[in-house]
Chain length 215, copies 4
């Protein structure tokens, strides 16, 4: 579909010295700031490097092009979320279904809301920068973690089909995004999201195990 050529997107060099690491982190942070304050359209490599307090040249030593910069940001974020969920799954083996779902959902919301600024910033670039690709990767990974966990539920016998797990993940991301983009991510709303999302997923999962499968 998309004909846009995909040049190298991998970071150019791994920071090895302490100084470099600081530089790279400053660039990442600056990217988020600029994304939030100016929007993708007005995110320029110059602006990012200025904000990071380094020269453009330095930025380009670590990221071969603008895309790779954004990609790295997205990747790092997805990694954090995915591993938070994975950990939650591991922890919840052999619990009752409702408890499992609650724990996982809450950890997900917590992870996502830890830095609402980053989460929101990333929605703005995701589609442009290989987001769907990364989502697919993370989805596969979590598919496994969630599936394995659900199979150990102490109070359910039939394992949910993969598609149901996809649905649950999509619901978690979708509703969270919705709350964030509504602009008012107040603690209260976040709390409500957490509770409703738990309920939503719990009732879905429960209904799946009590309803004859659809297809």
């Amino acid at each position: 579909m998309n004909t846009a050529s995909k040049p190298t997107i991998e970071p150019r060099k791994k920071p090895v010295q302490a100084r470099s690491t600081i530089t790279v982190e400053a660039i990442m942070e600056a990217t988020i700031q600029v994304l939030l304050s100016h929007g993708v359209e007005r995110l320029t490599t110059t602006r990012v490097s200025e904000r990071a307090g380094v020269s453009v040249g330095t930025l380009y030593q670590y990221y071969p092009n603008k895309q790779s910069l954004l990609f790295a940001l997205l990747e790092q974020h997805m990694e954090q979320i995915a591993s938070a969920v994975e950990t939650a799954c591991d922890y919840s083996h052999d619990k009752p279904l409702a408890e499992m779902v609650q724990y996982v959902v809450e950890r997900f919301v917590d992870a996502k809301m830890q830095r609402t600024d980053i989460s929101m910033a990333l929605y703005r670039i995701s589609t442009e920068v290989g987001g769907p690709e990364l989502v697919k990767r993370a989805t596969g990974r979590l598919q496994k973690a969630l599936g394995t966990m659900l199979n150990t539920a102490s109070d359910v016998n039939d394992k949910p089909e993969p598609f149901a797990i996809e649905m649950m993940m999509a619901t978690m991301s979708g509703t969270t995004r919705s709350v964030l983009e509504a602009g008012t991510a107040s603690p209260l709303r976040i709390q409500k999201l957490r509770e409703h999302l738990v309920l939503l997923c719990q009732s879905y999962m429960k209904s799946l195990s009590t309803t004859p499968s659809f297809i």
Copy 2:
């Protein structure tokens, strides 16, 4: 948040003559094509006009600037979806809850999947072009329609709180988007989405009416 200046965004003139309508439609369609084939970043007014078979000048006669072009596209799409849902709501008054939810969800999925290319193209611009603003507008509108409908459910007494409706809408959009962006919107997957989404929303709504509210 976003400091990006917002110039006039309303289309410059309403197409009244037949010829104009055709031109406008060609431009809209071309925009979608370019969006899909090149991505937002490489969507240019010149490219759009070329694809539409008109000159740039002509494009600028209907849309004062690029933003307004994209905005119009988004608006038109949201309008279609929103009104499809609204109609479904109107139609479903006084039905049992499960039936209501099923009908509304199915009409939503149908509307969204009618032109998957458009839906996908729009994900690419929504955040950039006042998407959240439009979403908020549409959300308000549907909040009302859904709320009104749900109040007439023949088998439920307590009306769901507004936030629950938001959750349901977010779930519908979120899961649909997820399926579309996974890249494989095969008829089979769409069918599965439809069924699971119905079940998901039904069980959520049902659980709400049988569970003491949380806060």
Copy 3:
């Protein structure tokens, strides 16, 4: 050998209106000027457009990139030289060998010296911009014209082998270049070049027809 990627090199649009033609010519002329005054290394598209009195954007409407600009210049020049020689060949059919050679050589030198500035400017870019490719093309063309002509020489029977014609062409270009790059292309030196080059080629051609072939 050369890994340098070769993007589109063909001019972007043909000038159709009178105004455009003027613009294109101004750009060509400016390119020569800049080439001579600054050298290839310091020839920038901005500088060229400034010199031409147009904006960079305009330059890029006619030439998709810097390479294509230089390539066009080179191509146009080669065309002129090649057709001058071709014409000379056509004109000289059935003459005695010495006369043929003299006429062709003189027309070549004339053509090349008509605008010494252009000739010199082009030496500076030739290798970088597909020069050898164009030379090969022109060589093929002139190979034919010269070969055909030489076959009609009234006083020679055996036709020279293709390689000999290549040698003659290389000699003509090489010596002319040498005189130009020596920096002192005074009328006197040009006159000397003309005479010596005639003699050189005549004696070479003559020796070929009286000497047993080498291989």
Copy 4:
């Protein structure tokens, strides 16, 4: 003509130690490689140093700037060719004209073809880096050597005018270059070049000594 500023161009220090010599040679060789694989335009000091297996810093210890690096390469090559020809001249004193010419021409072609890659690489920079200047220097030197030699020809009385010697040198370089840039420097073609070039120069020289001078 050329306004390009000319910074220090002399190599920064003469390599005295063995290690330095190796480094310098590696740099020279790397320069050639990069020149051939990337072209002048994409020859960067970093790339050269990488290829040479040293750091940029080290490169800059031996060459104060990029120009001087290229200049040194060119100079070294010209020196080799020039001295090969000079030696041939010295060796040929008092021989008959034809023999002289043959010997000199063959030694020239041999020298030039010994490393066709270097020869070709240098065509790419010669105009940019003081090539004509160096050519002029070498030309003067060879002018002398050739003139002296020719004066001793056992079978000719009148000495050729300096311009004729220039012509001969230009012919040698020009035809050799032509063969190299045609892209097919096969042994066969090189052999042909050698033979034809000998014939060409011989007949020219001979014709000069039997023809009344032109001006």
